[in-house]
Amino acid sequence: MSRQPKLSVHDLFKEYDGAPVLERVNIDVTEGAFCTIVGASGCGKSTFLRMLLSQEQPSRGEILLDGAPLPEEPTPDRGIVFQRYSVFPHLTVWQNLILAKEFEQAPLTGRLFGSARKKARDEIGDLLERIGLTPATDRYPAQLSGGMQQRLAIAQALVKRPKILLLDEPFGALDPGIRLDMHELLLGLWRELSMTIFMVTHDINEAFKLGTRLLVFDKVRHDPQAPEAYGATITYDLPVDKTARQKKELAETLLHDRPDSA
């Protein structure tokens, strides 16, 4: 690793109301890495992503982006899909998707009109198709199912083509078929743009399939009397190798033909 890491985290601590959530987190991530994060529910994965996004500040320690301290506020080079997927409730599906382009092209009004608007709408036609929301183009988020909202949130983050993408259980509410489509979409963009991705997931399959690096968050110290006394940290940091991939593919094949065989 002679290259400067894209992102490095030094001795990060985070506590809420005095209760530590994360402690002594250290990690260097090179550009283009796809880090999947797994860990027990409530151990601080989302908190970690929130700090990478600058939504929250660490209690101690520092995060460096390209060698410089992380900006103190969210910036367009870091995209996010929240765990409780949130899209803009006052915009319809396609309006949600062209928003990033509007911000970019119309600094003053933040809004495209006429042919520019039509062009932007046409440009997202393909994306809409790939996330399966073409029939819902003109609906408001409140009129979508959970999975549809989640797909919209993912697409919205991808549209901006961020350098760093933070995904918090992005595929949790999707059925396997659509999930595969979304994997394709994500991997395609990842390769194309050499994004650096952090993705929290509870699906170990997915973690192995997508990631180049697997981070496991867990508590190293545990006081049975005071279960809250210690925070979690990165306990395993595994490069995902061939064998594991092959194993996973085997597992997948087995799983895949089951519904039909039954």
Binding site: P74, T75, P76, R78, R84, L99, G110, Y140, A142, V159
Partner: protein, 273 residues
Amino acid sequence: MKLINRKPSRRLTIFLGLLPFAALLATYLIASDMRLAVNPSDKLLPSFQTMADTMSRMAFEPDKRNGDYLLWTDTAASLYRLFAGLAISAVLALVIGLAMGVLPVARAFFAQFTAAFSLIPPITVLPILFITLGLGEAAKIGLIIVGTTPAMIRTLAQSALDIPRELVIKAETLGASSWQITTRLYLPHILPNLVVALRLGLVPAWIFLISAEAIASTEGLGYRIFLVRRYMAMDLILPYVAWITLLAFVLDRLLLILSKRAFSWNHLEGDSL
């Protein structure tokens, strides 16, 4: 079925909705009859006949002094002031409320002051207001503005603060500038609340308008009520009050419809009053 789920039919809803009005009317009729039986020239609760006569005179007979049809000139004068006042209030409240909700610096600057300022009962500082704004239309409109804006600012600023933090962060990651976040996220979210604030501001606006008209004016609904108050001409006051209430009610409903049309996304869930 549980009470909370028992929805009355459309018909029953209308019937129930009319009941309290009917009860009020009936109470009035009985009380009025009783008083008129004791004293036929009682002025407090005149009969409907008397009120109708008075109103038809106000509406359809030219005034002896200047030949105007008073009800209509009063209404026009008051509505003009009301609309002008509310429109300026709305703009002010939107700008300042938005600034306070969006920009921490603006919040630091305005928060304490608007909180304190909004608590000054404007009618106590009327002389200063009149001297600052003169005695013309400006003062009347000004009193409405002074009276309704601070509360509207606070409501709007709070509603801007209530926007989920996630949405703001999302917009930032999509490359929005402060200005764009303001116009494309905060603004659409607080516009429905502006309508709510306007609806809630209708009553204070009328009250201040009437107070202002009571002090310096030669026409207007509040002026007329004030003028005949010394004679306790309830046969004119009560229908005028009913008329004001009706006007306000129509405005209120129009604003609700406007909100449902313009901000349909905000009405997808739950009922509105």
